[in-house]
Symmetry: C2
Subunit: 308 residues, 2 copies
């Protein structure tokens, strides 16, 4: 008998995350069958050509049939509709999970759409700025954290199987409640995306500096922000709408701190600026020591390859 | 006779930029002698060990003697003092330049410190988050823009020689006046650094989310900001103090835009969010098409190497 935590996994939504799970299951869980589904027929066609799964189903109901794990990889605002669509084919024994970036709202939506089913939401903190079925790759989750947010009444054995699944895909696991997850991600992911989207918008809409100048001189720091501001708009719209309170709270803190630095600049208070800029270096060191970023200068960008 | 634009170049300040110029001149202008100087004796010792120049001078006066180009590579707030220190050894025929990130203030400071000398400020828009004498490398300027800001009365032949020098180091050249430079860099470099410093400070100072959680889940977007927030505190303090008006103006625009998105989140206005997030994708494409960033997902970070 196989040691695989699940015999058959269904992935609903074949973008960056769904496609990466498809590749990763085939690479790292050879005894597990993976079935893919996407509501968009063009994505299903692309997914077949890309071998994102052993089989790409043509209907939501067919996709879930016979699977003991179903993972929703759609924008968080689309979870409820996707869950209702697969409900007719879903076994009562199957575990339902997802990869959404906000967890309290998604947990509630899935519970409402699939009453009586086993639901354990999760969030692999991994991704790139790409989207679509051709954006995925098998090693996306390697050495990244996957946060599992089991409801209070979750079956511990099912939690353990979901943990084993993500560990097989290379992830490191943490468990916490959904509300805490949403606060943590508001600061480590949602606020950074909001800020990046804002500054890229600001820069592209000035009278005194042209867009062409912004592009030319972007290596001064701006280009770093354009990467995450190129992320999928639908996904991010949904994140902000479903994690509103935590995002607004973190944004309030950010604005207070920015106002303080603004005041220091206006007053010519170099000491406050220097102290603040010194304090922030330690965080970068922590991230690199924890293996959560590339230690090479400039993320190891190709400009600097061969710097010797 | 050599075609090199300058026979002997003096670099004052041997950090990331100064050290990189030292390496680059030795690599790409073999007929040019490069002399280095730093006010810090420990940096001079390190610079000798690293071969940052053909010769490391022990006094500022000696450093400038016999050079037809002197480039100041110190924090912009330290330019005037560095200029006064080398003045006794500086020939009246020598060209004085710098690599500072703000130009109007620096041009005024150099003109006041070195009356009667030829001064043409410049700014290579290149760097990494590292600092110090061991941070430099010869290819730092390759394919990066160097903005030359000649005063109205600059000798065109000297401008041309300075352009030839930076081109030899691999840079692409633009010329503009200092005030316009300061507005452009306020948006492409100074504001991004201010925002990054702010958000990293905010994240490290929350009660509900620990610093350890911020570090662990930084791959959700936050880690991108930590890179530039690890830049040299003295350099950046000086940039904000010397380009105050342009930075505060751009910050005002940013704050207005952020308030608009904040309101959209609060009101649940998904359409405004979606439209904004779609608009910002085009800038990233422009930057990649112009060769100003790595086209690979996630800047080509090492986590994803071998994704195939």
């Amino acid at each position: 008998m196989s040691d695989a935590p699940f015999k058959q996994v269904t992935i609903v939504g074949l973008g960056l995350l769904g496609g990466s799970i498809g590749h990763a299951v085939q690479a790292f869980l050879p005894d597990t069958t993976v079935v893919g589904y996407d509501a968009d027929p063009e994505v299903r066609t692309a997914a077949r050509a890309l071998n994102l799964a052993h089989r790409i189903a043509d209907t939501a109901q067919d996709a879930a049939t016979g699977s003991d794990l179903v993972i929703f990889c759609v924008p968080v605002g689309a979870m409820a509709a996707a869950a209702r669509a697969i409900a007719p084919g879903l076994s009562k024994d199957a575990l339902v999970s997802d990869v959404g970036s906000s967890k309290a709202t998604v947990a509630a939506a899935l519970a409402e759409a699939l009453p009586g089913h086993h639901i354990i939401p999760a969030h692999p903190v991994a991704g790139t700025e790409r989207s679509g079925p051709d954006a995925g790759f098998a090693t996306l989750f390697r050495n990244r954290w996957c946060i599992v947010t089991p409801p209070a009444d979750a079956d511990p054995a099912l939690v353990q199987r979901l943990v084993a699944f993500w560990e097989a895909l290379g992830a490191r696991i943490d468990t916490m409640d959904a509300d805490h997850h949403d606060k943590v991600l508001a600061v480590t992911s949602h606020l950074p995306h909001l800020i990046a989207y804002t500054i890229v918008g600001t820069a592209s809409d000035l009278e005194q500096v042209t867009q062409s100048e912004v592009i030319k001189y972007s290596a001064g720091g701006f280009r770093d922000f354009t990467r995450i501001a190129a992320s999928d708009p639908t996904m991010w719209r949904d994140v902000f709408l479903t994690n509103r309170d935590a995002v607004l709270e973190m944004l309030q803190r950010f604005t207070e701190d920015l106002t303080e630095l603004q005041k220091a600049i206006r007053k010519g208070d170099g000491e406050t600026l220097f102290d603040h800029f010194t304090h922030t270096r330690a965080i970068r060191r922590g991230i690199i020591e924890m293996g959560q970023d590339d230690a090479r200068p400039d993320f190891g960008r190709s400009d600097h390859q061969g710097q010797g």
